[in-house]
Symmetry: C2
Subunit: 279 residues, 2 copies
């Protein structure tokens, strides 16, 4: 595991790593923030999955999460959004291929060999994290837009591995959206029954979540029709799923929205992940 | 004055403007953050001057200042670092020409027609700000690297216009540094006596500052030899100038450093600018 960069930040350390991913068959880049608290022993981990076109870097530089992670004693992990590089399939559209992995395991050509972001996050990177630093074993997961979709679907399918979940303006119901149908068709093929494993609204309705869920969504989000927060809100209420869906007046889809509520999400996860540790 | 973009952020509004600058002879872009407090009446303004290669955007997206400005009820102004565009002189080096205005009024060809960032900030943009919003009249100024140099020199020369000053890793003594001598020679000519008006260490030694000064400097700053914080620290101590020079262990020159201490600087200015209003 190679260190690409290392910067002191809010008393802790923001590091970017590159490692060989057997799952994706290429070198992958990710970032980890360690709060000062990590010097005293293992801390919980909060995963942040990014949205379309992003790399590990966007939230690391623009999300403002480190300040809150330092305050609440939580580590942050920022994975990339897809495999990249020569020999990796791509598409000229911004919402398919590199930068748009959608946190699925592709089963269709030409995506199948490398586009396995679901397994990469859930298994490979999670299992590799102790090489960076010993963590407490308590994992929370959040994300923005496509990454909010990833966070919700990964948590809902893996309640034994992830212990708290939230999302910023998630793609909440991709099987019914042009941010989902196009990509699932390409990555997973035409059998829509298979798509259901990657739709947060369907998964929540079927399985529920063991804890409570925090969703933030701006009312002036320019992509809100593609995100379909109403589908997830309806599913949560129908299921009697504990949680909070906050419609934040006037906020759009940008990192100005994400950074505004970053502190609330870090605190939300820290409270749940530290309580877990005390059980 | 045209609105380029507008985003809700921490309960306030982050706006980017474009206006015609008579001083620079081109259209200039700048950003203003209004905290929620601005809805209730005029608030103080904190100027943030950026460093080499930056535009209005870098600190706006990576500095993390808005959270603190919202908390303390201060507006933020982020000017560009130089005139830009066709017909504006430039240089292939990153540290001369566009993106590297050094907050001086150039007197030499080919820079003289457009490179007047000192007058642009001190006079034109400051006088145009009420077109954005009525402000309280209390102005603080800070900045990073080349922008820290700009903040210190502009405040020291204009104690009637600016009421509080701080800096992040400023170019503290440019007349004795390769970040300064090259540029001053190009913009101002070979008469080094003229340069003294743009050297914070010299100005501080000669004039002092009416209030106290806050300087943050990372000990692992990769450019520290060019910044010469020791010259400014010596001048402050020799002059018995009230203030704080903080050497922050392990921090480098990046926005990870700036964002870590952004809250301290916003609070520092807010305390002084609001006290001023109460006199």
């Amino acid at each position: 595991m190679d260190v690409v960069s290392e910067n002191r930040c809010f008393g802790g350390v923001q590091t970017v790593y590159r490692h060989r991913s057997a799952t994706c068959g290429v070198d992958m880049t990710f970032a980890v923030y360690l709060p000062p608290e990590a010097e005293n022993g293992p801390v919980p981990v909060l995963w942040y999955l990014s949205g379309l076109t992003c790399t590990h870097e966007n939230a690391m530089t623009k999300g403002g999460f480190q300040e809150h992670a330092a305050e609440y004693g939580v580590a942050l992990v920022f994975p990339d959004t897809s495999p990249r590089g020569e020999g990796v399939a791509n598409d000229e559209a911004y919402d398919l291929g590199q930068g748009a992995g959608f946190y699925v395991n592709a089963t269709q050509a030409p995506w199948k060999p490398h586009f396995r972001m679901y397994d990469y996050v859930v298994n490979e990177l999670r299992q590799d994290l102790p090489k960076v630093q010993p963590f407490s074993g308590a994992h929370g997961i959040t994300g923005h837009s496509m990454g909010g979709h990833g966070a919700l679907t990964i948590a809902l399918r893996n309640p034994g591995l992830f212990h708290s979940v939230s999302a910023f303006a998630p793609i909440a119901n991709p099987t019914q959206s042009d941010w989902g149908r196009k990509q699932f068709s390409a990555y997973l093929g035409d059998d829509e029954a298979v798509w259901a494993d990657y739709d947060a609204t369907i998964l929540l309705g079927e399985r529920g979540w063991k804890g409570d869920i925090l969703i933030d969504q701006g009312t002036s989000d320019q992509f809100i029709d593609l995100l379909r927060p109403q589908a997830l809100a309806e599913a949560m209420a129908s299921r009697r799923q504990p949680g909070v869906v906050r419609l934040q007046e006037g906020y759009d889809h940008s990192y100005f929205f994400v950074s505004t509520f970053a502190g609330d999400h870090v605190r939300w996860h820290a409270e749940r992940l530290y309580n877990l540790g005390r059980d």
